[in-house]
């Protein structure tokens, strides 16, 4: 990472109480404060009463896809590619 690139953070939102945090995407920020603020700017466009988690992407360990199925032979172990959340249906209501 060169001096002027910011690290990647994964963003999780709880859109209202009673729902769990859900992965919504990522962004670049230099520190956690900035990541939280940006997540609010970008992923909530400031709806109130929302809880945000940000996690440095590099801190996430992802499981390998099921090795028994040859289709899912892991092609790459870098977490960069990616903290995956399989088959989460896009629930438009609760974005």
């Amino acid at each position: 990472m060169s001096e002027s690139n910011w690290k990647l953070w994964e963003v999780f939102l709880r859109s209202k109480n009673g729902l769990s945090h859900k992965h919504v995407g990522s962004l670049h920020a230099a520190d956690a404060d900035m990541a939280i603020k940006n997540a609010r700017d970008v992923y909530t466009r400031r709806s109130e009463g929302i809880s945000i988690w940000v996690v440095p992407s590099e801190e996430i360990t992802a499981s390998s896809p099921d090795e028994k199925d040859p289709l899912f032979t892991p092609s790459d172990d870098k977490v960069y590619r990616h903290p995956t959340f399989y088959d989460i249906p896009d629930d438009v209501e609760h974005m």
Partner: protein
């Protein structure tokens, strides 16, 4: 080699069964490359597309119009971010995508290489350019790559506001003073054809399309999307009392579609090659902002590093 073939066949069957591919799943290298190219190109289009509209934010003729336009351009920045984020799940860092954009290696939608000399362009762009983009993007909400599809769902929700915003601007002009009406028509005259070009080359000249359709990255051909767009837009122009600048445009009862004239493909390819009125300006603008921001990005990193070190110091002192 043999296993490779069977993996690819399995992958095809997996996609054919309407399954979504997720980042760490095995995928053909060419599928990954195609996605990176397409998603980053899409992201760049959102980002470069901010410029022609940002050009009018400071001069918007009412506070309401200023607020709406600013919010719209901000949305486009957000779209760019969602898309860069989706491309990064494939292992392509954003810094590399940006470098490719600035070096000219990566493309973006050619439509943004035209200038916006008129306020009416803020309406026409929302109506036609966002309208054409929606045509494409609705299809992409069902694309086979999960993160891309999810980004498109978020984007599409916002795009419909953009098209309505644009149409409203044009409508106010079309129903306004004679000068305003002329403004709207003049703008439509310029943007109509470049909007049709947004769907890309005709199907016979679109080499990558077939494989993309097979992998369900794309679900409709360029010409199909273009036809849908024309069919949907002509009545909207009629409603405004504006005329579409195409003498060959007419309803074809038999086909159940509008026939329309030939696109100037020479212009299309030349603008892609870099010879549009604003190609150089758009990239120079992007490079300038990026370079002028380098010291800011460096400072934030340096501060974050110091903070982390201080925290560690505190922890070991405790």
């Amino acid at each position: 080699m043999g296993t490779n073939v069977s993996l690819e066949d399995k992958f095809q069957a997996f996609v054919d069964a309407e399954n979504k591919v997720e980042p760490k799943d095995w995928m053909p290298e060419k599928y990954r490359k195609t996605l990176i190219r397409q998603i980053s190109q899409h992201a760049h289009s959102e980002i470069i597309g901010m410029q022609p509209e940002a050009n009018w934010i400071t001069r918007a003729p009412s506070l309401r119009a200023k607020l709406i336009l600013l919010a719209k351009v901000q949305d486009e920045a957000g779209h760019g971010l969602y898309l860069y984020s989706a491309a990064e799940t494939l292992g392509e860092p954003r810094e590399k995508m940006i470098a490719d954009l600035q070096s000219g290696k990566a493309k973006y939608s050619s439509i943004f290489n035209y200038p916006t000399p008129s306020w009416a362009d803020m309406g026409t762009i929302g109506w036609l350019v966002d309208g054409a983009a929606i045509q494409n993007q609705v299809m992409l909400t069902r694309t086979s790559y999960g993160p891309y599809a999810r980004a498109m769902v978020k984007i599409c929700k916002e795009e419909s506001f953009h098209q309505r915003q644009g149409y409203e601007v044009v409508m106010k002009l079309a129903q306004g003073t004679p000068e305003q009406k002329a403004m709207a028509q003049e703008s439509l005259n310029r943007w109509w054809w470049p909007s049709l070009m947004m769907f890309g080359p005709s199907d016979d000249n679109s080499p990558n399309s077939e494989q993309s359709m097979k992998w369900k990255i794309k679900r409709k051909s360029n010409d199909t999307l273009r036809q849908e767009f024309v069919d949907k837009t002509v009545p909207q122009a009629e409603y405004l009392g504006l005329s579409i600048p195409d003498p060959d445009l007419k309803w074809n009862e038999e086909r159940g579609h509008y026939d329309f004239g030939e696109i100037n493909w020479a212009e299309f390819y030349d603008v892609i090659k870099g010879n549009g009125p604003c190609n150089k300006e758009r990239i120079a603008h992007h490079v300038k902002a990026h370079e002028e921001g380098a010291w800011v990005r460096e400072a934030a990193n340096a501060y974050a590093k110091k903070q982390a070190a201080r925290k560690e110091g505190d922890a070991s002192a405790a």
